[in-house]
Subunit: 262 residues, 2 copies
């Protein structure tokens, strides 16, 4: 593990004070482009202060930001180091299987089983914050990775959102991209990740035995006002996907393991 | 959804300028204690500037911090809202099953199957960055939640760390707490989460059928210098644990779904 000496980045303006966001952007970029390698110590606070002409507090804020993003170690009084693994998933990749595949260098595919417009029913109504007799649009697709069956996808939308899908060929491309193009505001999402055995329906589509382990990702997506616009259930064949998480001591993160006892 | 009007917090000192960390701490605390409820808009940037007597940039940095922690929506030009779910897991809870249980209101238990000191072998050597003929200490335990078998735990330590465990009764409490008390520096961790069928060994311990779906969490823990100090493999019965993740558009997070095709 070597120590990288800082050089004044060309992006820092000497005429106005750098903000902690400027410093964070510099460090983030240097990590992403490999200037700082995993295991490398980042420049010292004193060096960063000199380099950017800012107070120590500003540099510390920038370093805290990088920690919360899982890019560097907590340091604990010593200099933070670039972490080995740099997991990161774009928001597009969180919402869209097609985008996630492309970001992973995999060719996405789909075989739509059905598209339905019907009443929400109790459970979907609760998930979408609508009434049980409100209309929803549901899509059931087999998803492929490099032409190999990999995931069973169940998407559900309130009619206001799902109406944009009804007229679309759901075998031709990304529903997510179509929703964005239709002006749907997709702002944030919650995901619950667990393991589950394949149902008969899953098993038939994937040509596996019922009960085969699957990685299930249940997602709710919301608009900027906090209104649910999607509730979905994706089930990956156990050997097709995993999740990577990096955690540093003392850094709150939006990830939690949840006990099913409570 | 109501809008909460800001009140000047008693913690803000009027004699020195508040930092973005002060403002983030105030917002975080107001969300955690329920002053701001899920769905509520947080105070406007202008109101926060007045309340804390700071520049808008400082307020924006605080808001960005809360977003990266998954506490508020991205806003996209509008005011950010408190998100529905506030997943968060302490670092202790990431490393220690016992701590995680206690944080979840569950009584942790364990039945040690064996503790072994032996050679690392190829795979463990790679995971711990040591030589294959270096010594490791391995612990194999059945873990219980409220007295019910829930997880099969395989812990592996380089001898330098594991030596602290060899003399300990691993049925009496948390190995993690013992390591901390022994002065071991545990700084950050990476986890890979996926689904897998129970092996014969798992199945026998948990009294389930081989192949039963399990949620597997493989963890590597590191000290502040980036040296691996633990490599572990925890397998939860599928109905005992799940992961919750919150993601907002435009906010980098230390979580990524990983394709197994590549």
């Amino acid at each position: 593990m070597t120590t990288v000496e800082p050089s004044r980045p060309s992006t820092s303006a000497s005429t106005s004070a750098a903000t902690n966001q400027d410093i964070a952007a510099y460090l983030r970029s240097a990590i992403r482009d490999g200037t700082f390698q995993p295991g490398d110590a980042i420049p010292s606070e004193a060096d960063l202060c000199r380099q950017f002409g800012t107070a120590r507090g500003t540099v510390r804020q920038a370093i805290a930001t990088l920690r919360s993003e899982g890019l560097i170690s907590s340091g604990q009084g010593r200099r933070s180091r670039v972490l080995d693994k740099l997991p990161s998933q774009s928001f597009d990749g969180v919402i869209s299987f097609s985008q996630w595949c492309r970001n992973s260098g995999v060719v996405p595919g789909q075989k739509t089983q059905w598209v339905t417009r019907t009443f929400a029913g109790e459970q979907l109504a609760a998930e979408l914050n609508i009434d049980a007799d409100d209309s929803v649009v549901s899509v059931f697709r087999l998803r492929l990775m490099d032409d190999v069956p990999a995931m069973v996808e169940r998407l559900n939308y309130p009619l206001e959102v799902g109406k944009h899908i009804l007229a679309v060929d759901t075998d031709s491309g990304s529903i997510y991209e179509h929703l964005l193009a239709s002006g749907v505001d997709i702002d944030h999402a919650t995901r619950v990740i667990d393991a589950i055995g394949a149902t008969d329906e899953d098993a038939k589509l994937l040509d596996i035995a019922p009960g085969t382990p699957m990685l299930r990702v249940r997602r709710r997506a919301f608009n900027s006002a906090g209104v649910p616009i999607e509730s979905s259930d994706d089930r990956y064949l156990f050997d097709k996907a995993s999740f990577a998480v990096t955690t540093s001591r003392g850094t709150p993160q939006p990830v939690s393991m949840v006990s099913q006892s409570d």
